[in-house]
């Protein structure tokens, strides 16, 4: 919402400067976004182009002799509209041009000296117009400052209004709020009711009872008017906020829309029938609106129609066929009340953002209807002449006001600030709320018709503190009770957070960098990963982000590839984030990816990484979380993302904890340089995080007795899961077997294709005594027997 200082002063008698007004606006919740201040433009002056000639070295440039009233300057100018005797705005060397953010320097342009610049509107940041230089219409003497010549001495405010404040979509509403804060006194509206309404309107209204958005409409007919230019005072106001004057009738409606926040519409009465109908549009009906676009309508849209055609989209935009032109003689003025949500729905559907829609959907002051009618009638009659009809209307205006039971204690309870009853009442009254039935505890508050947003007692509290000032709210130090602290430490989510932190630390210390990628994936990735169709985004920003991701793999492949292309050496990344199985199930996981690139450095061979490095990383993560690998199962992974021979799944019970391995060559088809890439998915949320925090550390052995190591080689069936063998071995004799380490395997024709030979080392130690040969032999025999029996394995001699 934009308005100028002088416009505000039409409604508000104030001593405050524009800057003070700006601060007050922000303090009462009407946030000042910009306050234009053109005082620095007084350095630019009016100058006349005395003569000009073509630049010898450039077709589109002219060399002008410019007179600023003091002396003549040579200026090279590229504007197409230069002509002799023309007056423009001149900037000399050394001056800063706000629109281009450049300080002019004396110099030559294509060999010709240029001592300054003739400015366009864009160079002065007055508009986007850069078609040519400014041509002054009025005859100011050369040397007059630009602020005077361009009438820029009226600062313009731009405020960001929150959607609840429809009442401030008119300058008057803003003045009313400022007056409540004490920034000035609200003046009465400057118009007179017309006393001679001479004839019945030849056009009348009907509102269909079909559920359309109109509740009430009132009109007047203006006969024999002249629609020429509007007076300067209206034009200047419109120009000051960036609106172009068109003709008197259009300017008057635009002016009233901004001035009191009341949209209204004028039909050329000679272009419409004698009965206007508010009704729902028929499916397939079309209308050409004032923005020159054709819109296809349906029964969700309310239109103003005559016998044959829709003439306007109710509350949003008039039709171009029935609008007022310079030739309009007779006018039908419409002031109506439309349902905000229907207007919003229609506006969104048709994609029309108009000043009218913006106001209607925020809810308008119903009492402003008659005021709008009178105000507009007065201006039309005064500016365009002619005679004015009596009112014609349809529907009913609900004049009931909203009433709230308000308890004065409520303020302190919510705000934490004591505020005397008198002060509370005074503030409400300053906002023009009516206060009745005051007791020492409560009162009845009648809400003014323009405050549709004030519904419940809490809204009154807000109004009071808004005017009292948020800076007066006492600051209370935060605290945490004992129970709250307990809750924080015992909360599962907080534990989960620490788990993620531990995982991150492990990965960082293994040289994986943390990235965060979008939760989206491309259609191609979605198809390859066979993602669920419920994950499609209806209004995605691009094909690359068309689906919610079912895996992080492709995001990370893209990241690694982009970094590889930039010559980045360490291509290991990870992310903690969500994947989506379908629209109703989300899992937060850790994903890591590392790509091994050729790297020649005799002394620093950094890229030694294979499946087993990954396996070791997994066990480091598991250990960092205080779990033991013994509690897990490892199997081959069936995932289509991974190399079938170099990928694994880690389970705890039935829960999948991790999936990792070399990325499948098919997946890497589009990434030929990433053929040696390993990935891991870690489903940390599947870990029994609660028990992990309860678990006490095992008593650690600190035996000083001699230990013994012995190697065993067995022949197993080829698909024997060695992880199970390992677990069995560590469980055989928990007192004596301290460690089992697998360290070699091989296949050979001698053993047979269906078998493998595997060697492991067992460390045996007691914390009670030095073991004898016999003791050790018992353990060895036990190992050999159990391994042979359980796994159908043969000891190699």
């Amino acid at each position: 919402m934009k308005f100028s200082y002088s416009w505000l002063c039409d409604h508000l008698k104030t001593n405050q400067s524009p800057v003070q007004i700006g601060e007050t606006l922000t303090n009462i919740g009407l946030e000042l976004e910009a306050l234009s201040d053109y005082s620095s433009y007084s350095q630019f002056v009016v100058a006349t182009i005395r003569e000009f000639k073509k630049h010898p070295n450039a077709d589109r440039l002219n060399i002008c002799k410019v007179d600023d009233g003091d002396k003549l300057y040579q200026v090279v100018c590229g504007a197409p509209n230069v002509k002799e005797g023309m007056k423009g705005i001149f900037a000399k060397d050394g001056m800063y041009i706000p629109g281009t953010e450049i300080t002019l320097k004396k110099g030559k342009i294509r060999g010709e000296v240029s001592e300054g610049m003739l400015l366009s509107e864009r160079e002065l940041k007055l508009s986007d117009d850069h078609e040519g230089i400014i041509e002054l219409k009025k005859d100011f003497p050369n040397g007059t400052d630009a602020v005077t010549a361009l009438e820029l001495n009226d600062p313009v405010f731009e405020i960001g209004l929150t959607p609840n404040r429809g009442d401030c979509l008119g300058v008057r509403g803003i003045a009313r709020d400022l007056a409540a804060k004490g920034a000035g006194i609200l003046k009465p509206l400057d118009y007179k009711k017309l006393d001679s309404l001479e004839f019945e309107s030849p056009i009348s209204w009907n509102i269909e009872k079909d559920g359309n958005s109109c509740n009430y409409v009132i009109s007047r007919y203006f006969k024999d008017i002249i629609n020429s230019k509007s007076p300067d005072w209206i034009q200047n106001k419109l120009i000051s906020i960036g609106l172009r004057p068109i003709n008197a009738l259009v300017d008057i409606t635009n002016f009233i829309t901004i001035d009191i926040g009341r949209p209204l519409h004028v039909f050329d009465a000679d272009k419409i029938d004698s009965l206007l109908n508010m009704r729902k549009a028929n499916d397939g009906e079309k209308i050409k609106a004032l923005d020159k676009k054709e819109y296809q309508l349906d029964s969700a849209v309310t239109v103003i129609a005559d016998k044959n055609n829709p003439l306007a989209i109710a509350g949003i935009m008039g039709g171009s066929e029935t609008g007022c032109t310079d030739n309009t003689k007779n006018v039908f003025l419409e002031v109506a009340l439309f349902d905000p949500s229907q207007v919003a729905k229609t506006g969104r559907k048709l994609g029309i953002n108009s000043d009218a829609r913006y106001r209607f959907e925020r809810g308008l002051d119903k009492e402003m209807i008659e005021e709008g009618l009178e105000y507009a009638s007065y201006l039309i009659n005064k500016i365009c002449g002619g005679s004015v009809s009596k009112n014609t209307s349809a529907g009913k205006l609900d004049k009931n006001t909203h009433v709230i039971d308000y308890n004065f204690n409520y303020f302190e309870k919510v705000i934490g600030l004591q505020l005397a009853i008198e002060v509370q009442i005074k503030i409400l009254k300053s906002l023009l709320f009516k206060i009745n039935k005051i007791t020492d505890k409560s009162c009845i508050v009648e809400v003014p018709s323009w405050r549709n947003d004030v519904l419940q007692p809490i809204d009154l509290v807000e109004e009071i503190i808004r005017i009292q000032g948020y800076e007066n709210i006492e600051i209370k130090s935060p605290y945490a009770t004992h129970e709250e602290k307990e809750k924080v430490t015992s909360s599962l989510n907080n534990k989960k957070f620490s788990v993620t932190k531990k995982i991150k630390k492990t990965l960082i210390s293994n040289n994986f960098s943390e990235v965060i990628s979008f939760s989206f994936q491309s259609e191609r990735a979605h198809n390859l990963l066979k993602g669920d169709s419920s994950l499609k985004i209806s209004n995605a920003i691009s094909d690359e982000h068309a689906y919610m991701r079912s895996s992080l793999l492709f995001n990370h492949l893209e990241i690694i590839e982009a970094n590889r292309k930039k010559g980045f050496k360490n291509l290991s990344v990870f992310e903690l984030g969500p994947v989506y199985n379908d629209s109703k199930s989300q899992e937060n996981i850790l994903f890591g990816l590392t790509s091994i690139q050729k790297y020649n450095n005799k002394h620093y061979p950094i890229n030694k990484f294979d499946f087993f490095s990954l396996s070791e990383l997994i066990s480091k993560i598991i250990n960092s979380l205080n779990f033991d690998m013994k509690n897990f199962n490892i199997d081959r992974s069936q995932s289509i993302l991974f190399h079938p021979g170099q990928s694994a799944e880690l389970h705890m019970g039935k829960k999948l904890i991790a999936r990792y391995g070399k990325i499948h060559p098919v997946v890497l088809e589009n990434f030929p340089k990433l053929s040696n890439t390993f990935g891991l998915e870690f489903f940390y949320e599947n870990l029994p995080i609660e028990t992990m925090y309860k678990k006490k550390l095992n008593k650690t052995h600190d035996s000083s007795f001699q230990f013994s190591e012995k190697d065993f080689s067995f022949i197993f069936e080829k698909n024997q899961n060695l992880f199970e063998v390992h677990r069995m071995l560590t469980g055989i004799d928990k007192k004596l077997i301290q460690n089992v380490e697998f360290f070699d395997d091989y296949n050979s024709s001698e053993i047979g294709d269906d078998f493998k030979s595997v060697t492991f080392k067992i460390t045996i130690q007691s914390d009670e005594k030095t073991l004898t040969e016999e003791d050790l032999e018992d353990v060895h025999q036990n190992i050999i027997e159990k391994t042979s029996q359980k796994f159908n394995a043969k000891l190699r001699s």
């Binding site: 905000p340 934490g416 809490i458 990235v515 969500p578």
Partner: protein, 349 residues
């Protein structure tokens, strides 16, 4: 005579021995079972007792001398050997390590961590909710009805799938739905923060289609706006590490809070660097307010008994402000050069 000769010979040979092995051979030649000195001792057996005594003493003296010579020489040779080993193992320790950057933690992670720990110390536990939300949790329960202009404050991503009521699912536009989920599941007192991913269809240097927010909610019987102010000021002081922080609360509007406020912190630019906490310009930092009774009622809470406040802030935004980062897009494009520069090492995390 013989003895002198032997001593001369052995001294010379020891001197000539250039390795421990060579020295050993010399040692055997003189002191071995058939060595010259051993032979000399053996030759004593044919002599008279007196001669045995005198000659024996001489030879033993000779033997001790020779042994001492060997020991000295052996020590020298060992030293030589170690020195030569050290010499061959001598590396060019100035060979520069490759310019591989150390892995870093993402700046957002660091912010998450700070936020969780600062609010944790004030008694806020972490709460969670899904990214794909229903219309109810993201909008209507938060007092944002359909066709209300407030919906247009946020550009919403829609999912093609629908919820049980037939409404399209949305990507949550803010973390506020977690408020609703928590209030429907827990009895007050409630004191939670909900950090997470949020989405709006918008993309430029300050807007990203995905970004992060943290939501805060404190509901009990008397949490008021003074507590809200104190909590947020304390958070900002700790997060931005500025003790004297100039802030401003000004009225605003969110459908789910009433009264609503926006918090600004003062800043100034000194030597092209953003200084937070003082100055006369203002940065919008977060939105907050007292939970609207309508929202409490939507969550089946007794509004005559319970009240409280809520706040929400952009984690990317406060990260950018704290670390003077300018383009939100660089947070999410996985540029490792950027991360190496702006990320945090393990020591800082």
């Amino acid at each position: 005579m013989d003895n002198q000769k032997v001593l001369q010979d052995v001294t010379k040979e020891i001197e000539l021995a250039s390795s421990q092995e060579a020295l050993q051979i010399v040692k055997v030649t003189y002191l071995g079972k058939k060595g010259r000195i051993t032979e000399l001792l053996k030759s004593l057996k044919d002599l008279s007792l007196d001669e045995k005594k005198s000659k024996g003493a001489e030879i033993n003296l000779l033997r001790e001398k020779v042994q001492a010579l060997f020991e000295v020489k052996l020590k020298d040779l060992k030293t030589l050997d170690i020195n030569s080993k050290l010499n061959t193992e001598f590396l060019d320790i100035t060979f520069p390590p490759p310019g591989v950057s150390a892995a870093k933690v993402h700046p957002i992670s660091k912010t998450f961590d700070d936020v969780v720990s600062i609010f944790g110390s004030m008694g806020y536990t972490i709460a969670e909710g899904p990214d794909i939300e229903t219309d109810f949790f993201n909008f209507s329960a938060l007092n944002i009805p359909e066709d209300h202009p407030a919906r247009e404050m946020q550009d919403t991503f829609y999912i093609s799938d629908r919820d049980e009521k037939g409404k399209p699912l949305v990507l949550r536009t803010h973390t506020s739905p977690v408020q609703i989920r928590t209030m429907l599941n827990q009895k007050p007192p409630i004191k939670i923060i909900a950090p997470g991913r949020t989405y709006r269809c918008d993309s430029d240097s300050t807007h990203s289609p995905m970004f992060h927010q943290v939501e805060g909610l404190f509901i009990n019987e008397n949490a008021n706006m003074g507590d809200l102010k104190g909590t947020l000021i304390e958070f900002c002081k700790q997060f931005f590490e500025v003790q004297n922080l100039k802030v401003r609360f000004r009225p605003s509007y969110f459908p789910f809070t009433e009264p609503s406020a926006e918090m600004d912190i003062a800043y100034e630019i000194i030597d092209n660097k953003l200084q937070i906490g003082k100055g006369d310009k203002w940065l919008e930092i977060l939105g907050c307010g007292m939970v609207n009774p309508v929202v409490l009622e939507n969550c089946k809470l007794d509004t005559s008994k319970f009240q409280g406040f809520a706040f929400g802030m952009g984690l990317d935004r406060i990260t950018m402000l704290k670390h003077s980062l300018t383009d939100i897009r660089s947070f999410f494009n996985g540029n490792l050069n950027w991360l190496a520069k702006h990320g945090f090492s393990l020591g800082e995390y």
